[in-house]
């Protein structure tokens, strides 16, 4: 049975010329798990919000949406709230009350259920989601993953028939994201729940879903079973420009990307998981002669930032977060610091940036003691820090004012500043947003805009905390390119991230933070090449076949080399 049908839906935001959605047409059957993907700004979030009556954006709308055969407008407020569940990106913003149990009960209170039935439902759901242990806690004490799980639970407690999710894992670390996806898979499998899932990172969720819809520039270009979509993306079956196809492909799993670039005219079906990818690779490259790539050149710069035997704790009686940490950032390198959630990576950044003081140890910046930088001289052209919540960077009512204010404290000429910002804007593809309020921008735009602001001042050391959060695959490529270019000019970048693919592709060195210090560090080929579990999917696919290939590009290159040998 069809639960949702969208017919010729077009939508334009007020004061915008270009339509955000153009003639979108699809339907979802009951019990289906459907993933909608596409680069950011393609209209997928707009589409999703239009399906949830209470969140529908304002603007001019054409076409129709049917829920269970009825027009969405005909639904009573109660039905709309109860039967269509919605979980959005930010785990924090959706929490209403200050206690976990109250948060779970909130939706049911709104529906006017009796105390007894609320009790039963809340208890049941808390059990299913494994929330019992933090049932009475304050919501502010939860981790990001717990918060998002709570959001899902407090929507599920209302027993919706269809669940709409808007990039729910984009703000989570990989482990919490995997937990969340596992919970979704369980809901789908055990309850037969219909799920419509918007995501731009398909690596993990593709194996769970029944259908994928691919969106590009406001249009739904295709919607089919994953394998079929994979086949369609290969040749020119889609009415899209090659550039648009290239962008769409970036968000697909490594296995599929290898297939598209290597299997020209192959009859094999498109692999999607690591297992299928391995099979595919073995078929096209059964006995490789050349198994390693020449390792990239090592960067030997003079030290930019050094931490020696640094100890830090937040309060006198709290445990040590940094225990004798040693760290070296060289000039001209991109360093990616990886590690578990809450392990203290961000604290290390804070200590390095001088925002927190280590109680013991030595922090030097270009050989000079950190404390020797008087007042703000450290932050003027020497060191910049991008926090996780990039909105904290903005303090003015428009992007233009904000940039001007920052320009005034930077020691750059007006001309230099302008060429730098314009250059960055072009590279990161930021539209014309100068006169808009920073908080009116989309999440991705905020991220890029904040980065531009910091990079334009040309800092010699740049510290970034999770800069790829919420960015789509294409924007990540652009970001990586910009950072590498910045380092070529002699600056150094330290990135704290959970994004292994990004680190493998763009870092000169990677480090693993564990137990209060840096456990291991090496160039990405060696770093991820040694790992079996904590590594990229390209490495997993090529495991046993090649040595030290950690990105799709490297696997491709080796395959090509071997083919030429055969020929």
């Amino acid at each position: 049975m069809e639960i949702l049908r969208v017919k010729d839906l077009s939508f334009t935001y007020p004061q915008e010329k270009c339509a955000a959605l153009k003639d979108v047409c699809f339907s979802i059957a009951e019990g289906e798990f459907c993933v909608l993907c596409g680069p950011s700004g393609c209209g997928k979030t707009t589409l999703l919000r239009l399906l949830k009556k209470e969140l529908a954006p304002k603007g001019s709308l054409r076409g129709e949406i049917f829920y269970c055969g009825r027009s969405l407008d005909e639904l009573s407020e109660r039905e709309a709230a109860e039967e269509i569940g919605y979980v959005s990106q930010d785990p924090e913003q959706q929490i209403v009350t200050d206690r976990v149990w109250h948060e779970l009960a909130f939706g049911l209170e709104n529906l006017g259920l009796s105390r007894e039935s609320i009790r039963r439902r809340v208890g049941e759901v808390a059990g299913f989601f494994g929330i019992e242990r933090w049932f009475r806690q304050e919501t502010s004490t939860l981790s990001g993953g717990q918060k998002q799980l709570l959001n899902l639970a407090s929507v599920m407690v209302m027993r919706p028939r269809i669940l709409l999710l808007d990039e729910p894992t984009s703000q989570l670390d990989p482990i919490a994201a995997a937990d969340f996806l596992a919970m979704l898979a369980r809901l789908h499998r055990e309850l037969g729940l219909t799920i419509l899932f918007v995501e731009h990172r398909l690596e993990e969720c593709l194996s769970l879903c029944d259908t994928i819809g691919v969106m590009s520039e406001g249009k739904l270009v295709c919607m089919d079973a994953p394998a079929k979509v994979g086949a369609k993306m290969a040749d020119g079956a889609l009415p899209l420009l090659p550039e648009a196809i290239r962008r769409l492909r970036l968000s697909f799993p490594s296995a599929a990307r290898l297939y598209w670039s290597l299997a020209k005219n192959s009859s094999a079906s498109c692999p999607l998981s690591v297992r299928e990818g391995r099979q595919f690779l073995k078929n096209i490259c059964p006995n490789p002669k050349v198994r390693t790539l020449p390792s990239g050149e090592e960067i030997k710069g003079s030290p930019a930032l050094t931490l020696k035997n640094v100890w830090f704790r937040y309060e006198k009686t709290s445990p040590d977060i940094l225990c004798g940490a040693d760290f070296l950032l060289q000039e001209g390198e991109v360093y990616c610091l990886l590690g578990g959630n809450g392990s203290g990576k961000t604290t290390l950044l804070h200590v390095a940036a001088g925002l927190r003081r280590a109680y013991r140890g030595d922090v030097r910046i270009f050989g000079k003691k950190q404390a020797a930088y008087r007042s703000n001289s450290l932050y003027q052209g020497v060191l910049s820090y991008l926090p996780q919540d990039v909105r904290t960077i903005f303090a003015k009512d428009s992007v233009r004012e904000d940039f001007e204010e920052y320009f005034n404290v930077c020691s750059l000429s007006k001309k230099e500043w302008e060429t730098r910002t314009n250059d960055l804007w072009k590279k990161l593809e930021i539209p014309d947003i100068l006169d808009r309020h920073p908080y009116d921008l989309s999440g991705g735009e905020q991220q890029k805009c904040a980065l531009t602001k910091l990079l334009a001042a040309n800092p010699r050391i740049l510290l970034l905390d999770e800069p790829t959060k919420g960015l789509d695959a294409y924007a990540k490529q652009a970001l990586g390119g910009v950072l590498q270019k910045h380092c070529k000019d002699g600056a150094s970048v330290l990135i704290v991230t959970h994004d292994l693919e990004f680190a493998a592709q763009f870092a000169n060195r990677c480090g693993l933070f564990f137990d209060g210090g840096i456990l291991a560090q090496a160039a990405p080929q060696e770093f991820f090449g040694e790992n079996r579990f904590y590594t990229t999917s390209a490495k997993r696919i090529s495991e046993g076949l090649f040595l030290g290939t950690v990105t799709c590009e490297q696997v491709e290159a080796l395959c090509r080399v071997n083919k030429e040998e055969v020929v």
Partner: protein
């Protein structure tokens, strides 16, 4: 586990309302003394030793200060002790000062105990039925305040790392604080609007909203309520019959000649009930622990 904190919010509220009203508005010295001692005992049972002693010292100093300053304003009374600038300092004025000081200190202590036991979520539950919207705003506020404080710290760190947070002169610092708060205001407004959307998405605003809570009414709640209700009733009856009227001026009444037996005894039971329960509970707990 504090024994009293486990009681039903309605019971706790009734108890503290009864005690506070009596402690504030009955000015009979016997009841004032009882209230003072009861408050100290309960506070001792609830607070850590260090907190207790610092607060006790403060209370005693406060009471002393009031005792000593009252005669400077009030020259009523018939028993002059000595003269300052030709104005008499009377025994009655000192006595009244002591009574008021005692009352003020004890009310402050009761309020502290009330605050320890009657946390925000209990208030939220209590006003949830008659005032659901106010209760919701209250709940949101309790969630927002720590969140905004945390965000303010993050914003000032981010601004500091851009060299935009002056920490030199006072005017620089004030300007930085102003900037931070302005940014925080933007942040919280946009945050709150998203929260509002999430609330609507989960059906807030539908008719016939109900109220959920985790409190259970136990037998001990009934007993506590009946006991405190009865004793409060006796105090009220005594008050209505005028037995608690007491004149400090012109000459202080001799309260021991006509003691308010009924009210005195009832109020004594009322104020000592919670400390008794606390002590009983901690002894019981020690016993149970010894069996583990």
């Amino acid at each position: 586990m504090k024994a009293l904190a486990g009681y039903h919010p309605a019971v706790l509220f009734f108890y503290f309302a009864a005690v506070l009203l009596t402690a504030m508005f009955v000015r009979h010295p016997v009841l004032l003394a009882e209230s003072f001692v009861g408050a100290i005992l309960l506070f001792a049972a609830l607070e850590s030793r260090k907190q207790f002693f610092s607060q006790l010292l403060f209370s005693v100093l406060l009471a002393l200060a009031v005792t000593l300053t009252n005669p400077l304003f009030s020259h009523n009374g018939v028993t002059p002790l000595f003269f300052i600038n030709g104005n008499p300092v009377t025994l009655e004025a000192v006595f009244y000062g002591a009574a008021i000081g005692c009352m003020t200190a004890s009310v402050l202590l009761w309020c502290r105990c009330f605050q320890i036991l009657f946390t925000g979520d209990k208030l939220m539950y209590l006003i949830g039925r008659p005032l659901p919207r106010v209760s919701l705003v209250f709940s949101l506020t309790l969630r927002f305040v720590p969140l905004f404080l945390q965000k303010r710290r993050e914003i000032s760190q981010a601004q500091k790392a851009m060299g935009l947070f002056g920490s030199g002169s006072i005017s620089e610092r004030a300007h930085s604080l102003f900037r931070t708060c302005s940014a925080l205001f933007d942040w919280s407004l946009s945050y709150a609007m998203e929260t509002a959307a999430a609330m609507k998405a989960r059906g807030y605003g539908l008719a016939h909203r109900t109220n959920f809570h985790l409190y259970v009414w136990r037998r001990s709640d009934s007993i506590f309520l009946i006991f405190s209700g009865m004793t409060a009733l006796f105090v009220a009856i005594s008050f209505a019959r005028g037995e608690l009227r007491y004149a400090y001026y012109p000459a202080a009444q001799r309260f021991w000649e006509q003691p308010p037996l009924l009210a005195g005894a009832a109020f004594l039971l009322l104020v000592f009930l919670p400390s008794f329960l606390e002590i009983k509970e901690s002894l019981k707990w020690k016993y149970y622990v010894s069996k583990i």
